[in-house]
Subunit: 180 residues, 2 copies
DNA sequence: TAAGTGTGTGAGTGCACACTTACAAACTAG
DNA sequence: CTAGTTTGTAAGTGTGCACTCACACACTTA
């Protein structure tokens, strides 16, 4: 049955995003993804073309979810000024990444951009999100840039665990950023 | 001779920063670092306590260089207002990471913070740099936060290769950021 | 019922790599 | 000169992991 294989692929992709987010591309064995998805390693290799194909597909799924969340957030904006729409998008994004999988996956993906297929997947993901932000919010280049700069700052805060650090420098870096 | 072993350690650390920057912790075999340093793999293991110890030491060296550059940059500031000092620090940092090794190493280190020793090394590095920026520039929390947010944005720009992308969204993200 | 097709796995295979050990050459100290 | 220390390596060892293959069950179709 066609639909069953497709359903499996979705299950595997969810497991893959979580697993790769935690331990990264090279340190995550395919067996770990298979186990999390509840199927055999061999079948994962039948569903996806190698570990790299799996990771690239997972990247697509990751950015799909991010884009969807930001698009939904834009709908919730209280007004239609660029600032209000950007705020709503930022809030939606902050809420989405509370579980950390999507944020950490982005960090892991950026770390293995020496693999061309992954670099292209990252560019495609940011292309989609950035163009949407720019068009939908009607924001200036500088506003879009700032939006992503503070998004990237979140990556540092989470990976370094700065919410747990109460020293002044860490408080400065995390100020005003929604904590999980 | 004692000094020779210490000199070797420095050579190895330089090679390690470069090698880990390019391919990351898990995908960089110790043989690659040894070859780049011009010595045998076995001797690297004698000089450092395992691959993890080598990486943590390399992280220390990396942040040492970053801190030194920013401190030197602060000396070059045209004035003593927080804005001027921050600008000078930013310019010094931008110049330093032109070769990309230090920037990419930070990205790689942030990606393997699931290893506690590495997480602590990353925190120690940012603690040092952030406290210096805060104290020396006399900047507000918001200014310090912005300084690091745009620093992190550089990580995305470089890893995703956005300088090579001429589409509007990429131009927005890279606007005003010094290219290599 | 028999043949075909899609879903699934257990049991390999081969290789890369972290780490060790045994050994050797150079230098130093007494 | 010799005993000891330091610098260095060649040659393993064991393990983890990407990927394959032969095989099996289920379900459809003729």
């Amino acid at each position: 049955m066609r639909s069953t294989a497709e359903a499996r692929r979705v299950t595997v992709l969810n497991a893959a995003v979580s697993a790769f987010a935690r331990t990264g591309f090279h340190a995550t064995p395919v067996t770990a993804v298979a186990a999390a998805a509840g199927i055999s390693e061999a079948y994962v290799f039948r569903l996806f073309s190698g570990k790299l194909g799996l990771f690239v597909a997972a990247a697509g799924a990751c950015f799909d979810r991010i884009a969807a969340a930001i698009e939904a957030g834009a709908e919730q904006a209280t007004g239609s000024s660029p600032e209000e729409v950007l705020d709503a998008m930022g809030a939606a994004y902050a809420e989405l990444i509370a579980d950390r999988d999507l944020l950490l996956f982005q960090v892991q993906a950026q770390a293995v951009t020496d693999i061309p297929e992954i670099a292209e997947a990252v560019r495609a993901g940011y292309r989609r999100v950035a163009t949407f932000v720019q068009d939908r919010a009607g924001a200036t280049d500088a506003q879009v840039q700032q939006f992503f700069a503070y998004g990237q700052l979140c990556h540092l805060i989470v990976t370094a665990g700065l919410e747990q650090v109460s020293e002044p420098w860490a408080r400065a870096l995390t100020a005003g950023i929604r904590h999980p």
